[in-house]
Symmetry: D2
Subunit: 344 residues, 4 copies
């Protein structure tokens, strides 16, 4: 397989490189750039010395046409313009930016404050939540790879909503992310001295992943709801933990909730259901493509606490993107992704 | 004033020392121990060299009787036995452990899994949430200094419940704390390599601060409710941020919510209301006795997001204890506590 | 006293504010800016809400003339131009940038790659290493406040060089600093995700503090030497630890080395000599103006290991600057500076 | 291949599992314990759920005899007693503890304060610094896997000593390590709140890796020297950076020094020489088996600064151990070890 990456200098791109370099079916990996043509990649990212010493190539439609798959891992607002000419030109397209996730262009405008991608392509793109959309992903020309937060949240709540075990009308989602989610561009908010030893809430009730979560709930469970969703910045590099609160449907037991999750994911290699945990941390999945999920029913309040942890750069970005590529090419989902979590 | 500390080697005790050493009315500060009598304190805590080079003294009722105030900063289950003989013997008692907070002994047993303090003393003790209980604190013999989480949570939600601006029947409180809240005793859960770069939820729906929060809501607002409350461990040393979600009472505006908070705390030097913030972090209050509060009304869901930050060791422990001491002795609340937050 | 700060938005400036706000002799504190005139300071630095709600003032010679002291805490290359008109106009000037430290303009040019301050002013400025230059500081018009690294290094090695207990011709100084030393301006090198969990060496053999250290050794001990000096970035916010290696003069004992340090600093409130330590960390001095020093003679090699820890923003910047102000105004050195280290 | 691990619950053991689970030649991996027989491994280390759900087995000579290789990753003082009966019984033995590194039993006693392993086995064991001892490793019955610090230090200085480009009589080695080097057992020194935001020096001039370094210098270069070596604790989990200072032999150029390193390691896949770097950090090698080395000649002092970075748990422990196993079994050194560094 010939694989290209546009946006390789971002953290999503670097993680794609990390996994694709040990993927058994990838024979050629090339990195494309709009601005740094010719730069030896390992001269800029020293950790890749002897691993990826090729230079960055110019983005060129004819060149890209010969590739099997092209990942785009750019800031939002870029691939809305960049991808249209490439659709149907040859390679499968897997977009890690948010530009192809929302079906309604006006929602994109409202939450991203940017111009949306062409309407037809938005409809054609397939939402790449692998465990829930495998059949669609198989034949997709463009995959809209899910956001990091939505991945963690949706995998943990969709089964319970679908099986009507929790009340979807009062979902409170409190999510926490490591700083790598903010990307590699320096800013005051990610300046070490001000981020370190500081836990903060940001974009209060205004995160652009809100409509993505609501749209996916509708897509996969036919439930139309508005959710409360907030995001916090954790002084660490990798990891997302989401804590979701929902009323249990009357009579539902913790056992039922657990079994629903276990049953849903029994054939999915990357989702692990943890029963009866009294604590759960992001280090369980660090550096890996796993999503670990645990639930507790609080009998005092009859509310369910649903916890989910992922590595935001892997299952929340590059890992899931490669998982989708594997699905598209009929490979085992675990190809190139069976790395053991680092734990520490 | 002569001030004694029992439990000085814990982090709460060390913070008491940090502030009391610059308190203008404290003439004598002595540290008492049940086990390390004679140890030069600064030989164990080198940062206090030249500041507190005295030795630890034996806990002795007669000696303590001559003190004006004695702080007890021990693990739970200690002062339930230690304090009874000291009550009325002379010094004001300010207990930073949880042993005197819950009025109902059976609740203490249930949540702390330990033997409660004597019933009469539980009734006599005064809950030391300074801003809400100043009059009672003034004349208290025993002050039950509030827990770190309850302090952050209660200061932010009590005004809105009292003024009936939010629905108290659906309070979801998602709290996050730095690791110092777990105390100074090494354990696997606080071992650097396993805590660092790891964000985790713990004691899911089982934290002993739950009944304390519910009791205080009733005490100060006459509302009887059960809350959902969860706690998370942040890989940093100091700070608590609590995010509370509640339905707004129909018709209530963000302006009203803000004004309620501003009005409630207009004369309180340590509570700062932040209007219109889009982000809020624990570094605003680091090392200081401030509690900063901000709210947002989400018009999509008509739910309120209530955010509160404190330094768990200061406003959440030693700082509030000294604030209570100041109230008891008719001193300005800010005496010894007007340190500027470190920010970084 | 009326005190002004130019460059208040940097970390050095923020620390000046933190200490000056509790300084008993400071009646008025005003912040000056070249670009943000009119900005309410606490709207930008929320931790100062209710503490410093004044606006930034325009830098104006006439206004500044009425102040007792003006601190300049700017990047290098600014005060070389800004200060000349203010010299002799009224206020004492204490410069925290490096612009007035090197007596030889060509050295400044070589190491800072910028235009030096006027030659006469360089000669007139007094190096503000308080414990070693108190008499000169008292009457100085301009104080060149020492760099963070040189402060840690010099306080620990000067006594041993002066008393000829170590060989000054083979000084290896290996220094390590928290990230706040790099200032508040975001960059790739201080971007959280790339600094966190990363320990690095930087400016190998090229740090601009090298000539400052060599000049001060000559100034205070009459020894002319070249030193090896390297700097490392520690993934933490505050603190410097310097480890210096030097051959012991034949026959010198560890006891002699210790006594030399103890004797040198016996009347200095902020230098603490730690004898016989087997470990030493920056948390001993965190947030405070202390410099803690410890030495070990390795009998296998007859070399001395000299260790020194400071808070780079306090004794290495703002704290020492205020200490110098106290000396200039005949106040106790500890005025406004007797805060207890945070330890955690 | 059948592979056993004794001491799997330590960080070295966990890293062995991480790499061996993706090693193409390892068919069976079993974990042995002296105390927790029967425990399902993933119930204790949740990150290994679905990856290693086997139970811990009892250490038994007969069982172990059928294995191809057994790694021992225990604290020091254990394998000195545990290994003797296994020598020659079947499996190759690779010991990650320090018990078989020092050839002279009295040195072990002096620096480890424990009873040494049998003299004959100490002589028989082969020091597993792969790049320098490949031929001996191939046929070894017991491999003494090098310590983390010695690995980083030796790889960077041995070529320069051997080629007589630096003076070995004045080696100052200043090493810094992440906290995982201290193992998984909780202690005050590794308690999060006291390690976080604290950089410290420890075991000043007394680290047990000193005689190991000196012995290896003699073994590989025939130079007999005493070194100055100090170790520091960095508030991060993984990584070692060592900074070594040595006088350059007169006339030697930076180019020569660089070429010496490049030439030495031209066929070694895990050692990367970085020319002309002005900074170098541990994140270049994080999670991988690389050792990156850079040197600078300071022309002012004619001293060389030699910098080396490794992941202490990989090239400094488990990775090098597997590299040695590969050598012993005639496999490519990179088998199971070609993971890309994480960088962030």
């Amino acid at each position: 397989m010939k694989v290209g990456i546009i946006g390789a200098t971002g953290y999503g791109g670097l993680e794609l490189i990390r996994f694709l370099h040990t993927h058994p079916e990838v024979e050629k990996l090339e990195l494309f750039t709009s601005s740094d043509e010719g730069t030896i990649f390992s001269s800029r990212f020293g950790h890749l010395l002897t691993i990826h010493d090729d230079s960055l190539k110019k983005i060129d439609e004819d060149t890209l046409a010969s590739f099997d798959v092209v990942f785009t891992s750019t800031p939002s607002g870029v691939t809305s313009k960049l991808l249209p000419p490439l659709v149907g030109s040859g390679p499968k397209l897997i977009d890690l930016s948010g530009d192809y996730r929302l079906k309604q262009p006006e929602l994109y405008k409202e939450w991203y404050k940017k111009e949306p991608a062409p309407f037809e392509l938005l409809q054609e793109s397939v939402y790449g939540l692998t465990e829930w959309n495998e059949k669609q992903i198989k034949d997709a020309k463009i995959i809209a790879n899910p956001g990091c937060y939505p991945t963690a949240v949706l995998l943990s709540i969709l089964p319970l909503i679908k099986e009507k075990l929790i009340d979807p009308n009062y979902l409170i989602i409190d999510a926490k992310s490591g700083v790598s989610g903010a990307g590699n561009k320096p800013s005051q908010a990610t300046h070490f001295s001000e981020t370190n030893e500081n836990f903060s809430i940001y974009k209060i009730n205004e995160h652009q992943h809100i409509p993505e979560i609501e749209q996916a709930i509708q897509l996969f469970t036919d439930v139309n709801t508005t959710v409360t969703f907030n995001t916090h910045l954790v002084p660490m590099t990798r990891g997302i933990l989401s804590t979701t609160y929902a009323p249990a449907i009357t009579g539902v037991t913790e056992k039922q909730l657990n079994e629903c999750l276990v049953e849903t994911y029994k054939n999915d290699p990357f989702v692990r259901v943890i029963s009866g945990a009294s604590s759960l941390g992001t280090n369980r999945v660090k550096g890996s493509n796993f999503c670990d999920i645990s639930i507790k029913l609080d009998e005092r309040t009859n509310r369910v606490t649903i916890i989910s942890v992922i590595d935001n750069l892997v299952k929340g970005a590059a890992g899931q993107a490669i998982q989708n590529m594997n699905v598209q090419f009929g490979l085992p989902q675990t190809h190139g992704l069976n790395l053991v979590p680092l734990f520490i």
